[in-house]
Symmetry: C2
Subunit: 147 residues, 2 copies
């Protein structure tokens, strides 16, 4: 039997969140958190609306997932996020001990890989899932901003 | 005339916040944010109460100060925090472009200095202000935990 719950399947949901951010004139990044193939958190970047640099999609999903689970550790959970997490979000993911991070486009300037931010040793990382869709959305956002 | 608004003066207020965390059975870290010698945010670690790894003192103060200022950038502000910020908090401070960070005790294991987390190039850092008071409070907390 074919497993419908692929990384692409869930990343599409994160992309839907990124499109919601786009429609609100926010830098279009979306995230969801999944446990046992169930989505327990979904969020998108709200730094402009909330006037808050901490309101990245990942941060909101970490808080929401912990609230759902009733505990602050996200063991067994997977984060899907359309853009590579920054230092702040990777630092939060470190504390959460999340089991898996799947991201779309790389952020060569401010992503955690280049910045050298440390994740929890038990966290696995998959990159490049629907990366083109994610970066196209970002490019379209900044192209419209420059108009 | 003597200036009463020294780094020690403000760090004492951050220590009061750390003591409030201690009394709530939270790891005792406190923070305040100051602009023009005026305290515009005060907070303490609430990760246990809120079941949320993102609820560090610094994160809450960044959000509160931005809310007070009506903008997300903390230019002209100083953060006083009793313990050296972690990767997550330093990453948030990077985005905030805060002008100055003053911390008390160093965190040799998980502090941003050892972790290599990048701050904004315009941010200046002062360390070791009331470091003994801060680390004594931490030691007392963990000693009581071990009982």
């Amino acid at each position: 039997m074919i497993n419908p719950f692929t990384d692409e399947y869930f990343m599409k949901k994160a992309l839907q969140e990124a499109e919601m951010a786009f429609d609100k004139d926010e830098i279009p990044v979306g995230a969801i958190i999944v446990i046992d193939n169930k989505v327990i958190a979904r969020s998108h970047n709200l730094t402009e609306l909330l006037n808050d640099v901490t309101a990245h999609a990942e941060m909101q999903s970490i808080t929401a997932a912990a609230n759902y689970l009733g505990g602050k550790y996200l063991i067994g959970c997977t984060l899907y996020v359309t853009l590579e997490p920054c230092q702040m979000c990777a630092g939060a993911l470190y504390w959460s001990q999340i089991s898996k991070i799947v991201y779309g486009a790389s952020d060569e300037n401010r992503g955690f890989v280049k910045m050298g931010t440390q994740l929890h040793p038990k966290t696995t990382v998959v990159k490049g899932v629907l990366a083109n869709e994610s970066s196209e959305l970002m490019k379209r956002f900044f192209a419209e901003k420059r108009k």
